[in-house]
């Protein structure tokens, strides 16, 4: 926590006046927030959304065994497979974008830029309907394949960009030293630059997995029986769709939050192993916002 000591000098230790003012603001803010929450609960109560049986059915074995767990399995399966295929796609096209040959580089650029610009949902719908034209795939497999393909092409392209910007952020001397000892440009890329870039981009990669997991929910639109679909099915049967959707959202939040914490821990752990910290790929559109800003420290009033 080097940063904390260097930034806590920013603000003087608040005097009695400032502390009192902060306390007053704090109380006003708590009242406001509590008021908003109370209003929401009141509206929900008026519409009968707070009735006990709408909530108690969230804790029944039937729901978890027959709906939530199988569907969560489908969600995680699609996410896991997509993670693997995205990383392979990303490594392949990341290398293509860094290749010494300008035609390979151009090809990589076109592919990566194209798949980053097209919405994932559109790709899923396309593959779903396109593969449906062949009898080779069974209709029950189609949504899964479409989800994985859509996620792979988009996230693989983002990973390719991460890899490229990771290599570009390495100190110039690394590549030069490799060339100086007589390695070919290709050997410099694969055995000097990429191992370092991969280590440095690990936390960003984990954040990208959060995006993959979240985007599996798009499969709901093309009838993939994932968590959201199961929540909706159970909710319309039991008449507690609001509660079921909130539960589905909460499950996603918990898993993603764990992944985010892992990413943060990993970036601290790896910071001793690499000199570069890749915050985000330059101009990567999407939700790769792992800038992990630490500004809170800046205005936090030091305790004493």
């Amino acid at each position: 926590m080097k940063r904390m000591t260097s930034t806590s000098v920013l603000f003087d230790v608040p005097g009695p006046k400032a502390r009192a003012r902060t306390r007053i603001f704090n109380i006003i803010a708590i009242l406001l927030l509590a008021g908003m929450l109370a209003y929401v609960l009141m509206v929900m109560g008026r519409q009968g959304q707070l009735e006990a049986d709408k909530w108690t059915s969230l804790f029944t074995g039937n729901l978890w065994v027959n709906y939530i767990l199988p569907a969560l399995g489908k969600t995680l399966l699609a996410a896991l497979i997509s993670v693997v295929t995205s990383v392979i796609f990303g490594l392949f096209f990341g290398m293509a974008r860094l290749a010494p040959n300008k035609y390979i580089r151009g090809f990589g650029t076109v592919v990566v830029e194209f798949f980053r610009a097209v919405p994932v949902l559109m790709m899923m719908i396309f593959f779903w309907l396109f593969l449906g034209q062949f009898t080779f795939f069974s209709p029950s497999q189609l949504p899964f394949i479409a989800v994985v393909l859509g996620l792979t092409l988009y996230n693989g392209s983002v990973i390719a960009e991460l890899l490229r910007s990771g290599v570009h952020q390495l100190p110039k001397g690394q590549g030069e030293a490799g060339l100086a000892i007589g390695l070919t440009p290709w050997a410099v890329l694969t055995s000097v630059l990429m191992p370092q870039a991969l280590t440095a981009m690990m936390p960003s990669l984990l954040s990208q997995f959060v995006v993959i997991l979240k985007d599996t929910a798009l499969g709901y639109i093309i009838s993939y029986p994932e968590l959201l679909a199961a929540a909706r099915r159970f909710g319309s049967g039991e008449g507690n769709i609001l509660q079921m959707l909130l539960l589905a959202a909460l499950i996603f939040v918990v898993i993603n939050f764990a992944l985010t914490l892992l990413a943060e821990w990993l970036s601290q752990f790896l910071s001793s192993r690499t000199d570069v910290e890749i915050k985000h790929a330059d101009g990567v559109p999407g939700e790769v916002d792992n800038a992990r800003p630490k500004t809170e420290m800046m205005f936090k009033i030091p305790k004493h």
Binding site: V118, P119, V210, Y220, L245, A291, R292, M298
Partner: protein, 227 residues
């Protein structure tokens, strides 16, 4: 019918530009909404008031980790159907407004983090100097930190805007007549032209997204604070 004739009748039957226009409008309104909400959240997260900081952090973590598809479904099936909360007289506008609000709520979390990462680019000395000339928290934030932070956050904000433009396709869940839904029905009725149809719609997004990317890169260079 020749291939080109087929295509021209296809695009005469479907209002493709109209569908894209809906996506552009959704992007526009949601961008304004998420920018306003996101700035407020960013201010909350850097304020000295603990409860505001806590609320801002909770909002960002909850919203950012929830799939947009769930939020959209929640708004339609959870809020609209259960509470009969109509936001406009016509169905069409009602769903449009719902979708725009959900998009704004979702992307506000990313805008907040983008602005915060911009605040990170401001050197500590700037805040110290502001403090030294006697400015308190709000004036420091308004006159010293934020103007510099906004310039530093152009790139992440641009990325958020691009994600927003692409995510407007999820509004199809809220039965808004936008591009991805139209692509689906076009392919269903003209499956032999599937590649052409997908290419046209994909290119539509390339045309929307690439200029935003180029513009933000240009703006972030042009407006960068010289240090």
């Amino acid at each position: 019918m020749s291939f080109s004739e087929q295509l021209s009748t296809l695009f005469a039957t479907y209002d493709v530009l109209g569908a894209f226009w809906t996506n552009v409008q959704l992007t526009f309104w949601a961008a304004i909404g998420s920018f306003v909400l996101g700035s407020v959240l960013a201010l909350m997260r850097i304020s000295p008031v603990p409860s505001l900081r806590w609320a801002g952090t909770a909002y960002v973590h909850l919203i950012r980790n929830t799939p947009l598809t769930i939020l959209m479904t929640l708004a339609i099936l959870g809020v609209w159907t259960q509470f009969q909360l109509s936001l406009a007289t016509s169905f069409e506008w009602n769903f449009f407004i719902y979708a725009a609000i959900v998009l704004a709520i979702y992307h506000a979390a990313f805008v907040c983090e983008a602005i915060r990462s911009g605040v990170n680019t401001v050197p500590v000395g700037q805040a110290e100097a502001a403090r030294a000339i006697g400015l308190s928290f709000m004036p420091t934030a308004r006159y010293v930190i934020f103007p510099q932070a906004l310039r530093g956050s152009i790139t992440p904000l641009g990325n958020t805007l691009i994600a927003l433009a692409k995510n407007t396709t999820v509004a199809t869940v809220a039965s808004v007549a936008e591009a991805s839904g139209m692509m689906k029905s076009m392919i269903e009725f003209n499956s032999d032209l599937i590649f052409m149809i997908f290419f046209v719609f994909a290119m539509g997004f390339v045309i929307i997204v690439v200029p935003i990317g180029l513009l933000t890169t240009w703006a972030s260079r042009k407006l960068a604070v010289k240090r």
